[in-house]
């Protein structure tokens, strides 16, 4: 067989696996028609919940689950964008991309074993502390749990082969074989995530069971519950943003730790790339979140209102603070980046306007609609809502704010992209005018749809956000495409990598801290939507902790989990840098040995 045919055969084999794998995993009840005994879901009593050493069972499981999710999100995301960077390196034949991708993987490898360790701890805690629930879940998902274990094994195999074969399969056709392994690794990783998401989303919107919880459908029916796909998309995008933020912090840490100009230049470039990855993952995230929330409302209005208008509503103010912090930090980093090029000065005057939009948007987003007021305060305000701030607390104002913040974040990125390029195409002026028109019309549409939202009932208010989302995405996609073609083959000026302030690197640390806290907060909200049910409407939580904790209590737990994760991730950074450190041979025996 010729080498050429072998490659095709290999590619075909990989492609078949990729297409078949999710199908095999999801439809794990091999004989899909197996009739299972239609017993109702169990009704656990207090005695069915064990407590270990007086510890809060829920907090223990909460901590382990969240920690596992942090690590899993990171180790699943990194191979995804590593593959994209590796592909870029292969296409552009720029070895810097390849080396950076390899370095990203090195960090991920150190985190992988911790992911498995915490995952094992979580499984033990769940089976020990919530045996009735886990027994029911096992009955619903049957063989899928075994498939999950097998997938985990396959993920490990693929990951180790992908990482350790990096140098052996670095050039020529072998590079494509290496990327195929990367593709397989990502397919297995995504399938793993989809399976785990099926379990989490089943607990929120059970399907394949009747009103008593008796199993009436197949594993596939339970898997394909109403919230599964929205959760899949949301977590996929969030993982990319999160992974980008973590490796960005690694780059910042290495940048700050080094004095050597070439090392600082390398890690500055790595930090910039990581920030872009985080932004790329982050920009569509609010829209994925919007879809998830729309599906929650479609599944159960009651659940949706619990989230957005009930006891959890205040959490979205904290979410606004966190997302605002992320956007401000990401933008600040991009603005600092203008200093890397001499032409960056041309764009610096615009920064203050973008900053005004970002801060203004942030303030609108954090403005609450209603406040807990004393009768005297109500009297002083002349009503339950402040005349000026009240209208800023409702969805139309917040939709305008968040869409503009996303649009202007993209503008910050676009300015840096242009700062070392001089367009040489004949249609540059027209192209530029078109981009400006795109921004103006898009922003006007975002405002107009928002104002329309003020004049319509709630149902149409939600509908009005669709044209806003389309405007934002249109600006990002079309302005991106135009810039790509306008600056293809453009005249490049020097980018002085490493010419960044220390302060700018701290912006890269804000991103993972805020992302980690935000992910834990969102996890708390998602779980709380089930209120006092293990599996919503079919299996009640009768444990002593079947209540939704206050925001303060949740915040304290989230901070402790985040601190633990940050400590672990700093340890992983240290391990990665330790692996790159080589002690100088004081006696010179190594050299002598090599020459002898």
């Amino acid at each position: 067989m010729t080498g050429f045919n072998r490659h095709y055969l290999f590619a075909g084999l990989v492609a078949s696996l990729i297409f078949l794998l999710p199908e095999l995993a999801m439809a794990a009840d091999v004989a899909g028609e197996v009739v299972r005994e239609a017993l109702p879901a169990p009704k656990p009593t207090r005695a069915d919940y064990m407590s270990v050493g007086g510890m809060s069972s829920r907090t223990l499981v909460w901590g382990l689950a969240q920690m596992h999710l942090f690590l899993a999100a990171f180790v699943l995301a990194v191979p995804f964008f590593v593959l994209c960077i590796e592909f870029t390196g292969a296409v552009t034949k720029d070895q810097r991309y390849d080396s950076m991708a390899h370095e990203f993987m090195k960090i991920s490898m150190a985190a992988y074993s911790f992911t498995a360790l915490v995952g094992g701890g979580l499984a033990i805690a769940l089976f020990l502390l919530y045996p009735t629930l886990m027994g029911y879940m096992m009955k619903v998902f049957q063989g899928q749990t075994l498939i999950y274990a097998l997938l985990f094994l396959l993920e490990s195999v693929c990951l180790y082969i992908y990482f350790y074969s990096w140098q052996a399969l670095r050039h020529g056709n072998r590079k494509w074989a290496h990327m195929s392994i990367g593709l397989l690794l990502n397919t297995v990783g995504l399938t793993l995530m989809f399976v785990a998401n099926a379990w989490a989303s089943f607990m929120m919107s059970p399907s394949g069971v009747d009103v008593t919880g008796a199993i009436t459908g197949t594993v596939w029916e339970a898997t394909r519950n109403p919230l599964w796909n929205p959760l899949n998309l949301h977590r996929f995008l969030a993982n990319i943003a999160y992974g980008g933020a973590i490796v960005g912090a690694y780059a910042a840490y290495r940048f700050l730790s080094s004095k050597a100009a070439d090392v600082r230049a390398h890690y500055d470039w790595m930090g910039y790339t990581s920030n872009i990855i985080a932004i790329i993952g982050f920009l569509p995230l609010p829209f994925a979140g919007y879809w998830l929330m729309a599906e929650i409302y479609a599944y159960s209005q009651q659940m949706g209102i619990t989230a957005m208008g009930g006891v959890l509503a205040w959490l979205f103010i904290i979410q606004a603070v966190l997302i605002g912090t992320i956007l401000l930090a990401a933008n600040y980093y991009l603005w600092c980046g203008l200093g890397r090029t001499d032409r960056g000065k041309l764009y610096e005057p615009y920064v203050k306007y973008i900053a005004a939009v970002m801060v203004g948007g942030f303030l609108v987003w954090v403005t609450p609609h209603s406040l807990i007021l004393t009768p005297q305060e109500v009297q002083m305000l002349g009503g339950t809502h402040h005349k000026l701030l009240g209208p800023l607390g409702i969805m139309p104002a917040k939709n305008i704010a968040v869409n503009l913040m996303l649009v202007f974040t993209f503008l910050s990125f676009q300015m840096f992209y242009r700062s070392n390029r001089i367009a040489t195409v004949s249609w540059a002026a027209q192209g530029n005018a078109f981009v400006v028109a795109l921004y103006v019309i898009g922003c006007l549409n975002i405002f107009a749809a928002g104002i329309y939202g003020y004049m319509t009932p709630t149902v149409y208010k939600v509908g009005a956000s669709v044209p806003q989302v389309i405007s934002t995405l249109s600006i990002i996609v079309f302005a991106g495409i135009i810039d790509y073609f306008m600056y293809r083959g453009s005249k490049r000026t020097v980018v002085n990598w490493g010419r960044m302030s220390t302060r700018s690197q701290y912006a890269l640390f804000v991103l993972p801290v805020a992302f980690t806290w935000l992910m834990a907060l969102m996890g708390y909200i998602r779980s709380s939507l089930r209120t006092h049910w293990h599996v919503y409407t079919v299996m009640k939580d009768n444990s002593p902790e079947a209540y939704i904790p206050t925001i303060g209590q949740a915040g304290n737990v989230i901070t402790v989990i985040t601190l633990a994760f940050m400590a672990l991730i700093l340890f992983i950074f240290w391990l990665s840098s330790l692996g790159a450190t080589k002690q100088a041979d004081p006696a010179g025996t190594e050299k002598a040995g090599a020459s002898s």
């Binding site: 209005q301 009651q302 209102i305 205040w314 904290i318 806290w517 209120t531 409407t537 304290n556």
Partner: protein
């Protein structure tokens, strides 16, 4: 030094979020409490209507959607008589009250809308994309709302009264078993160990507090034979270890649901030090 600075910076950022979470209004959402007891024959029609009103904004969670935000008809402000008549006369309506009129027809229509909300969807309030064929409202007799027949009747009474109709639903029937349970529930937690022992009728089977019952084992000096944890387990899961000479399945197995944590603790503490009636005097 870099590591230390980075750590301190991260902790400072985290503290800001934590403090912010703690200064916001703090609300703990508990599972719904046991419903108020309804004793057959004790509630008149006014009471039933008032109960329906409480259910409308309470357990029924109707106000979550039936408000001025436009998710569902705002039943509290609209002219119900006009609205109900219009719905019954609508060609699209093919439900159980079709062709009927008056208060009884409204009762049938409302009950149908509670348990089968998609039987008729008020134009403009259907699930998106269903052309008003599917209602977003859940069957209120099923979980998570789980209204009983009496509670649905109370809601109907409230809405009939609000619409200016005669109330046609029967008064609550309660139910012997429910009533007993509710009465027991309404006793509130015991305040002393002796009161808890009396509340859970421990002495009916055990020789305890002057009782000479011998259905269960004697508890004299039990603290010397068993640890506090073992006594607790014996109360919560009595069949796990059965004393020699006694049969399993004799002692109730649902004390974990009946007892408050404090009551259980008081009983266990009492038994750990219990030497017998003579010894304690």
């Amino acid at each position: 030094m870099t590591l230390l600075r980075v750590m301190l910076f991260s902790v400072a950022v985290l503290l800001v979020y934590t403090i912010f979470a703690n200064i916001l209004p703090q609300v703990q959402s508990n599972p719904p409490e046991e419903e108020e007891p309804v004793v057959a024959g004790e509630m008149d029609q006014e009471g039933q209507i008032a109960w329906g009103e409480r259910l409308f904004s309470g357990k029924g969670t109707c106000t979550l959607c039936h408000n001025d935000l436009g998710r569902a008809p705002d039943l509290l402000v609209m002219n119900l008589e006009e609205a109900f008549s219009k719905h019954l006369a609508d060609e699209k309506y093919q439900g159980e009250a079709k062709g009927q009129e008056g208060a009884k027809a409204i009762e049938v229509y409302l009950h149908e809308s509670f348990v089968d909300p998609s039987a008729y969807v008020v134009p403009g309030f259907g699930k998106k994309g269903t052309n008003d064929a599917v209602s977003p409202m859940p069957d209120v007799s099923g979980p998570p709302i789980s209204l009983s027949d009496d509670q649905m009747n109370a809601l109907i009474a409230f809405l009939q009264d609000k619409g200016g109709y005669d109330v046609t639903v029967p008064l609550p029937t309660g139910g012997a078993a429910d009533t007993e349970e509710d009465e027991e529930e309404s006793e509130g937690p015991a305040e002393t160990a002796e009161a808890a022992i009396e509340k859970f009728t421990c002495a009916a089977c055990h020789a305890l507090g002057g009782s000479e019952a011998d259905v269960g084992p004697k508890l004299d000096g039990i603290g010397k034979r068993m640890s506090a944890t073992e006594i607790e387990q014996a109360i919560l899961d009595p069949n796990a270890v059965v004393a020699e000479g006694f049969e399993a399945d004799t002692m109730p197995t649902d004390y974990s649901e009946q007892m408050r944590v404090l009551e259980l603790k008081m009983i266990v503490d009492y038994l750990v030090n219990y030497e017998g009636e003579g010894a304690s005097q």
